[in-house]
Amino acid sequence: MSSITQPLQETSPETQAEVMISGAEATMRCLIAEGVETIFGYPGGAIMPIYDALFHHQHEVNHILVRHEQGAIHAAQGYARASGRTGVVFATSGPGATNLVTGLADAMIDSTPLVCITGQVFAHLLGTDAFQETDVMNITTPITKWNYQVTEAHEIPVVLAKAFYLAGSGRPGPVLIDITKNAQIQAFSFPAYEKCKHIRSYRPKPVIRPEYIKEAAKLIDQAERPLVIFGQGVILGKAEKEFDTFLEKSGLPAAWTILGMSAIPTDHPNAVGMLGMHGNYGPNLLTNECDVLIAVGMRFDDRVTGRLDKYAKQAKIIHLDIDPSEIDKNVKTTVPVWGDCKETLPMLTDAIQRKSYPDWLKKFKECLEQEESKVIRKELNPSQEILTMGEVINILNSLTGGNAILVTDVGQHQMVTCRYAKFQDSRSNITSGGLGTMGFALPAAIGAKYGAPHREVVAIIGDGGFQMTMQELGTIMQFKPKIKIIILNNNFLGMVRQWQELFHENRYSFVDISSPDYVQVAQGYGIRARSVSERKDLEPALKEMMGSEGTYLLEVQVGKENNVFPMVPQGRGVAEVVLCKEDLL
């Protein structure tokens, strides 16, 4: 490796003679030295010294005042997912910190790089049940990649450098730094800020073993019906080009997980669609017919695998992952390829033969035709009067040209969007995958706009999820990120209702949720809005939305009891994927 010969001590241009500053001021200087430009946060008692320091730096750093700390962390997640950089959150102690918990868990399971800074009561009050004191460290231990409590100002530069290094390197994740108020106030001699590049107990990337690459290449070369399934690892590893080259040479059909989506364009010649419970028919069914399954940067989530003992039992499995604990966790691999896929994919590409699989690809096409006739056609071009979610996405595709970032919440609208959305660019599909956090989309869309200001950001949200975090319309009102919001309103908690219909004999238990007048709500926040329920109004309304200058909210009334299909019912194997309700037995 060439980098070893380079000098290791890199000091930032910030380098100055040592000066006495407060811990709070040091915190701001560290963030600026890390290149932080946007912070999502909410002030409070225990973090006031840091906000005071922020006051003096507000021309260097953009602070977005949210309406609830959960909004701050989801916004930071959206920012990180859209930009590939680390999202930064400020919150106060106690309730401020506990309001971050859902976002931390979401970022942990979806490997999103975050640095969250929470204020804490004075160190001498720790453990005394002081006002707004809560044991944030222990609450967040299982849902952070790393957390640390700072009780002395001099720790701040070292700890923050470590925080940014850990959040963004290897398999990314959220880091929480809890800073007691005395440490924020205390003055200390601030050294030149030094970025962290090494921690002896932490190995961001496992060492690549060339013998496994060779072994994997051999399996791929011998395969007759190989299938690639890929996840967010390709995006997180910034290995989209490397992956594309691999696909081009190998000729392999490739299916994505929900978080892997958009790593390659949806119309990529090798693309065969989405995996998982509501993924495409072909990739699910044919997972159990392939002879070699190549998993790239994905973790075999149960929503992807269905019943494990019926999952790809016939196939030899190659698993590329940066996180050694993922290998063999759920699915036993034949050949593990540990390492950063940005490095392993080119090695694998070099080692394999150029091939194509016309007959095998034809099978996917046949499956797609079946899916089209039984599901897709009536979703995208429905004959009944009432609108479907799918046709909204279909028109949206034609208006965005697949260039927009779509941010989805959780539920039916999310599955429909991921099934029918077209994407040209990476980092275009932002959604809460692993945790399934309703209320994610609106704040995440705000964050995504700050992470990729040049791109169009469209939030697509259900009526249930929207009502969980709709207070963030206030953030939009105040800071004016130009995002588009589509509420797909079916007047139900649709996904739960679907399960109650299919598996609980139509017992609709508390899924009938009513909505406020969203147009009036939006207008109350000074946001342009419109509601449509008829087909003739849909396209004009979407056009008006996309053509409007600022934020725009469009409510679309869709069919109340539409179901999302295909579906791999829970507890069934992927090959038991069904195309319609009648096939469910």
């Binding site: 980098s3 290791l8 680390t86 460290m137 963004g168 107990s201 130009k482 600022g550």
Partner: protein, 196 residues
């Protein structure tokens, strides 16, 4: 696969909260920790955990990977009982009067490898170091005479085949600088993009 006793040896940094981080890896999966010991290791500044659980090898292997994934953990090993040398220490408090009149103390000392730690007028404390069966045996002997207090330590274990951790640590301390994050060139143009 067969469940059996495994000893997990974890080398870690000495960091507050790390015990919790490791403990919750077990409790999250509803796995009972039979014994847990933290101590210094052969290397100054490096801590060593010994954790005993009864599980299948597959589960233990996965647990070790989850433990190693923690930022402040240097390395985790697992071994079955054949692969380690281990000891536990037990203390027994009994009434001196009873012991003096009814128990053949010299037999206790020789047959059970017990040591006398304290003798007072009112009570005597014995200790036994060894495997579980050895410490258990003395409980049975002393119980009829009224065992006032009993306590046993966690297991401490040495891995038979280990060459120690020095060489590994030198590898870990070898600095390999991380590559920089790819920047987003549009982030500098925010003023032009925002406004409602």
């Amino acid at each position: 696969m067969l469940q059996q006793e495994y000893t997990i040896t974890v080398y870690t940094e000495n960091q507050i909260g790390l015990l919790n981080r490791i403990a919750i890896i077990f409790s999250r999966r509803k796995i009972n920790v039979e014994s847990l010991n933290t101590s210094p290791s052969e290397i100054d500044s490096v801590h060593r955990f010994n954790i005993v659980i009864t599980e299948t090898e597959e589960v233990v292997r996965k647990l070790c990977r989850q433990i190693e994934k923690q930022v402040d953990v240097l390395k985790a090993y697992y071994n079955n009982n054949e692969e380690i040398v281990w000891q536990e220490l037990a203390l027994y408090k009994v009434s001196t009067d009873v012991i003096a009149t009814e128990v053949k103390v010299e037999r206790l000392l020789s047959q059970y490898g017990a040591r006398v730690v304290v003798i007072r007028k009112d009570y005597t404390v014995f200790s036994v170091t060894g495997h579980r069966e050895e410490t258990d045996r003395l409980i049975q002997v002393l119980e009829p005479y009224g065992l006032i207090e009993f306590v046993r330590s966690a297991r401490v274990a040495i891995i038979k085949s280990s060459e120690g951790f020095h060489r590994k640590l030198t590898q870990f301390e070898y600095r390999e600088p991380a590559s920089d994050v790819v920047e987003n060139e549009f982030l500098n143009q925010q003023e032009k993009v925002f406004s409602m």
